[in-house]
Assembly symmetry: C2
């Protein structure tokens, strides 16, 4: 099948699929007219990539996952370790965003948000927030 159909079936944009070929994640056949020709297993691979990317795995991690997937002898513990690491990265990002939020929220809350030029948010960014506690060191 052509790239358009492979795109539809995998959920990935055609541009992305070509890019994945550039970086050797898929290797479709070529038809006589030069068009890429995707097999069902190519599409399978693309769907795998789509899912794994959606789960937050990097391209290199996807590459590893694909090789583990096709390795009859791999242990599930290898994959589990990667997934667990991903989970802890996700937790760390959530924590970071929440601390960002708790730094920004009080500034928004105490900004009157009217036409006057006085603005606690800018004051804090400037590093002289007056009586208010500094948000960042």
């Amino acid at each position: 099948m052509n790239i358009g159909e492979a795109s539809e079936r995998s959920g990935l944009p055609a541009k992305t699929i070509r890019y994945y070929e550039d970086i050797s994640l898929v290797a479709p056949d070529r038809a006589d007219n030069g068009y890429r020709d995707y097999s069902a297993s190519d599409v399978h691979r693309l769907r795998f990539l789509h899912r794994a990317r959606n789960l937050g795995f990097s391209i290199d991690e996807c590459r590893l996952l694909l090789s583990l997937y096709s390795d009859r002898n791999r242990a599930s513990s290898d994959v589990k370790a990667m997934a667990e690491q991903k989970l802890s990265e996700i937790d760390a990002k959530i924590a970071e965003l929440q601390s960002l939020k708790s730094a920004l929220q009080p500034l928004v809350d105490c900004c009157h948000g009217d036409d006057r030029p006085d603005c606690p948010i800018l004051d804090d960014l400037a590093g002289h927030g007056g009586r208010r506690a500094q948000v960042l060191a």
Copy 2:
């Protein structure tokens, strides 16, 4: 002061400070020997940038914040609107990460993680997870 001291005082790496000059966020003087010469207000500006970047504002948003900061006539509502938008972006990112987590966690939980090749995580990625619900559509 030289870039090294400006770096220490602002908390930004020298490389980053030079980059900020490239993109016209700061414009230090030059000494006779060609070295950059940072004033106290340059450092002030760099600290402002450092704080704003840490709060999740993009470079372009920082540029805008800086211009609002030096605009005697700006209304605090302008800044508040930006900060509120930032907050909702942060909330959206947190929600996304949490849904990522709730997709990945059950896979990790049900993977036995031993030497056997059977692995629910890869099965799910491959799109044929058996009796388990598919994590992704």
